[in-house]
């Protein structure tokens, strides 16, 4: 894969998209890897008892997966200098079918002085945007 060149970048340029399938297995794997064992992320009874529509994906899993669109585009996970999201809607993960998270990115701003580009990410589940102000600043 050829890596993007800073001088060729344009604001508004699409950088790609990824469809992630988040299953209950994904949630258990993320719980173990991150140490976040809040049981609303793997137990239906606990999720129901606190009034949730079902077991939810960790917000940090959604955040961590979404940025892979920018990582794959630039080709190096170490070049994400700044990354922020707002958690606006939950991702409900069905026990057998999971949840499909569709993430796409485009260039929102370019800073020639610092040689960085801001990638604006859109993350959708069930045609609803689940992350707000999802921005990754990429170093060149």
């Amino acid at each position: 894969m050829t890596q993007p060149k800073f001088d060729d970048l344009e604001v508004g340029q699409e950088i790609g998209s990824i469809e992630f399938l988040l299953t209950r297995d994904s949630l258990v794997r993320y719980a173990g890897a991150s140490g976040d064992f809040n049981s609303i992320h793997y137990r239906d009874d606990v999720a129901a008892s606190v009034g949730l529509p079902g077991v939810l994906a960790h917000g940090m899993l959604t955040m961590g997966a979404a940025v892979q669109v920018a990582v794959n585009w630039v080709g190096d996970a170490g070049r994400i200098a700044d990354y922020q999201v707002r958690f606006t809607k939950p991702v409900v993960v069905h026990p057998t079918e999971g949840a499909v998270l569709l993430v796409s990115g485009k260039i929102g701003a370019i800073d020639a002085e610092s040689r960085t580009a801001r990638v604006d990410l859109t993350a959708q589940f069930n045609e609803t945007t689940v992350l707000g102000k999802s921005q990754a600043v990429v170093r060149f």
């Binding site: 794997r29 173990g32 890897a33 991150s34 140490g35 990582v71 190096d76 994400i80 922020q84």
Partner: protein
Amino acid sequence: MSQTIGVVNVNVQGKKYPATSPYLVGREKIREFAHAVKSNSPTNLDVFAAQAAGYTDVVAPPTFAVVIQERSLATVLADPEADIDFSRVVHGDQRFIHARPIVAGDELTSQLEVASVKTLGAHSMVTFETKIYDINQELVCTAISTLVVRGDE
């Protein structure tokens, strides 16, 4: 629950918590975390690819700093003075500002400060700023996290 105020003690605004003990970032931990966030980035997974890109070892995914942040956050949630009811906490937003990427072999400590406590109707919003340092006390990452603590409706 009859208590309608005091889901968070506003007096903890500005409070700094002691630095955590060093966390040694392992190569396999980075790979495990990378798989968990569905990364297939070579610099996360492959030592040779990471070294070819100029790093000493595999780099952590951009959100790995949450693992370090959590260690500091745990001390706050256990602090009786802060008085945060964990069962009412929802993650509002999150940001990681990296001075440099986290690399396998790093020994990291974190220092958390309660940046702000705001009340919004029955809810409280608490923003934590966690500075993550390497063994030379150089800043690696600033993690900013806002938790929303739901009050009684």
